[in-house]
Symmetry: C2
Subunit: 202 residues, 2 copies
Amino acid sequence: MVKNIKRPRGRPRTFSEGDAIDMATKVFWAKGFDGTTIDDLVEGMGVRRPSLYAIFGDKSTLFMRCLVAYRENKGKLAEGVLFGPNDVHEAIRSLLRFAVKSATDHNSPSGCLMICVAPLMDDENVRRFLATANEETTAAVARRLKQGIEAKELPVDFPCEERSRMLLDMSRGLVVRAKLGVTRQKLLDDADRAAELILRGQ
Amino acid sequence: MVKNIKRPRGRPRTFSEGDAIDMATKVFWAKGFDGTTIDDLVEGMGVRRPSLYAIFGDKSTLFMRCLVAYRENKGKLAEGVLFGPNDVHEAIRSLLRFAVKSATDHNSPSGCLMICVAPLMDDENVRRFLATANEETTAAVARRLKQGIEAKELPVDFPCEERSRMLLDMSRGLVVRAKLGVTRQKLLDDADRAAELILRGQ
DNA sequence: CGAATATAATACCATTCAGTTCAAAAATCC
DNA sequence: GGATTTTTGAACTGAATGGTATTATATTCG
């Protein structure tokens, strides 16, 4: 029963909506919002101008969709790493390494859409989204650290909230350096040392 | 002898070159390179279009001048803090606090030109400048940490280079959060804790 | 097959943009 | 005072940009 998806009425699309969003994301990620033209998007997404406007709305609306999809993708992967089977030390180390790998992946632009691109935008929706995402991510990392306390992997007085903020600040710093062209290997080494310091304090 | 500055030949300028660069810097800092139009600069700098082009060159050239001036200004201030009369712990703490204060100053845009704006630019000169600045700043902080070892304020085996990179990554994270709208007070508290952790490992 | 529907493809439009031209104005030099 | 120099001020230009209108094409439904 593969043919369960009933074809819609009119002429079929030549692209998948999800793929198009992913491609648009890469364009914005590489060039920034203001640096991206509609023609860049048309070329990058493989979607013609009128279809682009009809299906995704204007440039700001499209960016917002990209941002939401980006956070969902990266968030799921990060959560998998953070709440996987590893102990807390390995989980945190892997989280920082994941940030570095994502920011230095040669199959996508360097840096991070939510750190290097979106914060510069003059858009209330974007601002709110980023602020909320920051709070939620901080809370998630803090939750994982608390689990580490419960598992006796961290001292009972470990300052989870504070160290969670530090971890995320650290990852932002590593990601910005990735954007500056520092190599993946150097950043991965620094990520390991940062995890070590933040968790064990040495 | 105040009148020692001989007036140049033609019609006098209605602006100071240095002030104009400072104002242009604020415009780029707030809106990003691609988000800034020449009209924004004309309005922000108080310099008319033809004068702007005649004196400062095109938009990219002007940006580069702003970037150099920005680094010189902030760099001098940061150096004063870092190599001032304080012990190494206070110096490092003050350095992080300086970054936070600069990124949350209500008299200038939030964030940092060299962290939030310039890395996004597709310009080889800018890239080289940022990479060099990063290396030089890392080296300067490491030098200050080594002085701390010599002054017996840090253990002899203190990993100066590594911790210097961590400190700067941390400051980048704090600055990005400033751009997201986190309050100065919260960031200052986190800066204090970060300095504590990075220097004393707890 | 013919009507209906949805996308593709092309061309178009008004606006904005980076950068320029040129006459008028304000100063110094001789 | 007249020539010279430099900036100002306003208007101009060609290209690029965000967004749209229109027609052609591919598909389903009856």
